[in-house]
């Protein structure tokens, strides 16, 4: 499945052979899934002909059920932020399993610098530090969180690039270390009651704003900058990239750092959204982030994938989650369906790659 891109330095060569961009396929798949739920809403007897995406009760100004459109993307926005970083790591033929626990550890640490002194006039019962750490400007917890992420990413990248530990193993180790840090930080106690300005980071549709802005930024970076070209080049053929003068090791460390900083930022947004940080947060986030990239058409052997694909992959998972709640089917069915869709996405993609070659 990778023969087309191997040894040719990335996407540009592929483009000429494409009938339409790979992302269009995912978009069509998304439409088909939406139509399936729309039909189920009409034919399932207990649904009383409700519509999945359209406003049938006259609640909104447009013809759409805006509330559902919002939640579809809101519920995948935070994992989506992680997926933007994981996409870059996978393009270099790596993997990052540490992002879920990193979300939890960062949430705990950042939230400790975002607490208020008083809650309804009572002293904050979940205070981690003394009064000096109360009601700090919102920039403090955000910077602390991002620095922590950068540190974890630098360690991941160093082990992968300089110590030649397989990325799966290095980040698996970091997965356990970060979960341990999250549990150790406050001995398992939740860290709650942040300042209003911290809450704002995750309030309303803010997670979506972050997700989409970061997606645009990293789309541009990957497509049009040297950083992006090197990232694809390393994933396509690491040896060739080295020969052509790219500092492969340093570049890899940078990619892992960016990925971990995005995951750390996701931890900040998640804790702001929930107004609490808990050691068990972010469970399976790393796997769902990888799933988004995979549904978005990324190749785990590196060199191929895009931010647009990953955003569409996130949308597919969001539509499925809302769709199953819409038809009142339980979480267990959602997991089975998501698993099926991930496998189907890869099979279809492989088939398409083979036909093209």
């Amino acid at each position: 499945m990778t023969d087309t891109s191997h040894g040719v330095g990335g996407l540009t060569f592929d483009k000429t052979k494409r009938s339409w961009p790979n992302e269009m396929n995912i978009f069509f798949a998304l439409l088909i899934i939406v139509i399936i739920f729309e039909i189920l809403g009409q034919i399932l007897p207990y649904m009383n002909g409700q519509s999945f995406l359209f406003d049938t009760r006259g609640r909104f100004d447009t013809i759409f059920n805006e509330a559902r459109l919002q939640i579809i993307i809101l519920q995948v926005a935070i994992i989506g932020i992680i997926a933007l970083g994981v996409t870059q790591v996978i393009i270099t033929a790596g993997i990052d399993l540490s992002s879920g626990p990193l979300v939890a550890a960062t949430a705990m640490i950042a939230m400790s610098f975002a607490q208020t002194e008083l809650v309804n006039g009572n002293p904050n019962p979940k205070a981690i530090f003394g009064l000096w750490a109360m009601d700090l400007p919102v920039i403090v917890p955000v910077v602390v969180g991002l620095l922590f992420g950068a540190m974890i990413g630098a360690i991941n990248g160093t082990f992968v690039a300089y110590f030649r530990i397989p990325p799966f193993i290095a980040t698996l180790g970091m997965f356990l270390i970060c979960r341990g840090i999250a549990l150790w930080w406050s001995a398992g106690r939740p860290v709650s009651f942040p300042t209003e300005s911290y809450k704002f980071i995750g309030s309303g549709m803010m997670p979506v704003v972050w997700f989409l802005s970061l997606a645009v930024i990293f789309h541009i970076i990957l497509r049009y900058t040297v950083y992006g070209k090197h990232t694809y080049a390393i994933g396509s053929n690491e040896e060739a990239a080295r020969m052509s003068g790219i500092n492969v090791r340093r570049h890899k460390v940078m990619v892992y750092m960016i990925a971990s900083m995005l995951a750390a930022f996701a931890g900040v947004v998640l804790s702001a959204k929930a107004s609490t940080a808990q050691a068990g947060m972010g469970e399976f986030y790393e796997l769902f982030a990888i799933a988004m990239a995979v549904i978005g058409g990324i190749s785990l052997t590196g060199g191929r994938g895009s931010i647009i694909g990953t955003v569409l992959g996130a949308m597919v998972l969001g539509v499925i989650r809302s769709g199953f709640t819409f038809v009142k089917l339980d979480g267990s069915y959602q997991l089975m369906a998501m698993g099926g869709i991930i496998i189907a996405a890869v099979i279809l993609d492989q088939y398409r790659q083979r036909n093209r070659a």
Partner: protein, 312 residues
């Protein structure tokens, strides 16, 4: 209870003169909020007693690991073991692994609770009370709001593999099955895995259908708070909906204080933790102990929440 306290007093007196008592404890999850309060209750109580040292292990929801931890405790010769069992249907395996070492089950009731050997005991609250107290109070509140003609709502389940979640949801259905409360109907029930952020998303998904509803019942406080946050974000008037949960965590009580949360149930985490240490020490001394020590649940509403603000 009183008996346990007396034993505890005796035990601590003796402990000061006797050799140090070593207790090994295995907890099903370290990252569970409520169990963490219980765990802290155990640690603080043990620290306050002279000559008692407590070693805590995380079973990470893995029964096989927990059984190994018990065996390791026995092998290293601890004086007593405290087990917060991962899987309540595996009581016999834990009992056997402990052999002659005194053992206390805490918080979760093992299936062999009626056949425990004299060296073992059980300290907890009776789970059937919790879901029932919460749902029944919501039923009363809805009647008081004049909704006895029909009320619709949602039910949020904890982890589907967890006994307490299954029991609490069953309690809700049992309450709704009573003549007095059968005006309540559940529109949909789904799991939010005990978690606040998952509950936010689930509630927002439910609300996106635009279906009117009168109540939300959750298996724990965290999910209830998530639901409240989602409803407030959507601009709902919290006076028009009844929200019930279980735990009486501090986050929940402060939410109740702001007038958004209606009913929760206090389970004495600290008391269960401390009680398990006392019972373990009494068993070490070879004293006769109540083999089932029940610490009752208490209904918490805005009327009495002040009593609980400094607990859990």
């Amino acid at each position: 209870m009183k008996k346990t306290l007396i034993f505890a007093g005796l035990a601590s007196l003796l402990a000061t003169t006797a050799m140090a008592q070593e207790i090994g404890a295995t907890i099903s999850r370290f990252d569970d909020n409520w169990l963490t309060v219980m765990r802290n209750g155990m640690t603080e109580h043990a620290d306050s007693l002279d000559g008692v040292s407590l070693q805590m292990e995380d079973a990470t929801d893995d029964l096989a690991k927990q059984i190994d931890q018990v065996k390791n405790f026995v092998a290293s010769g601890v004086d007593a073991i405290i087990v917060n069992i991962v899987d309540t249907s595996a009581g016999a395996a834990i009992t056997e692994a402990a052999g002659g070492t005194p053992l206390v089950f805490v918080n979760r009731e093992p299936d062999n609770v009626n056949d425990l050997p004299p060296t073992q005991a059980f300290v907890a609250s009776n789970e059937i009370e919790s879901g029932t107290l919460s749902a029944f109070q919501i039923c009363n509140n809805l009647r008081a709001d004049g909704k006895a003609g029909g009320a619709r709502g949602y039910l949020m389940n904890g982890q589907l593999s967890n006994q307490a979640a299954v029991q609490r949801s069953k309690d809700v259905h049992d309450v709704i099955g009573m003549d007095m409360c059968n005006f309540m109907t559940i529109i949909d029930e789904q799991t939010a895995n005990w978690s606040r952020d998952e509950a936010q998303d689930l509630m927002t998904n439910w609300m996106s259908s635009g279906e009117p509803f009168d109540f939300v019942l959750a298996n724990n406080d965290e999910m209830a708070i998530g639901a409240i946050q989602a409803m407030k974000a959507a601009g709902m008037d919290m006076a028009s909906v009844q929200v019930g949960g279980v735990d009486a965590s501090q986050d929940a009580l402060l939410t109740m204080q702001s007038g958004d949360y209606d009913v929760t149930v206090f389970q004495d985490a600290f008391g269960q933790g401390a009680g398990s240490v006392d019972t373990a020490l009494a068993l070490v001394k070879g004293m006769a102990v109540d083999q089932k020590v029940y610490i009752p649940f208490v209904l918490v509403t805005p009327a009495n929440m002040g009593d609980f603000l400094s607990k859990n």
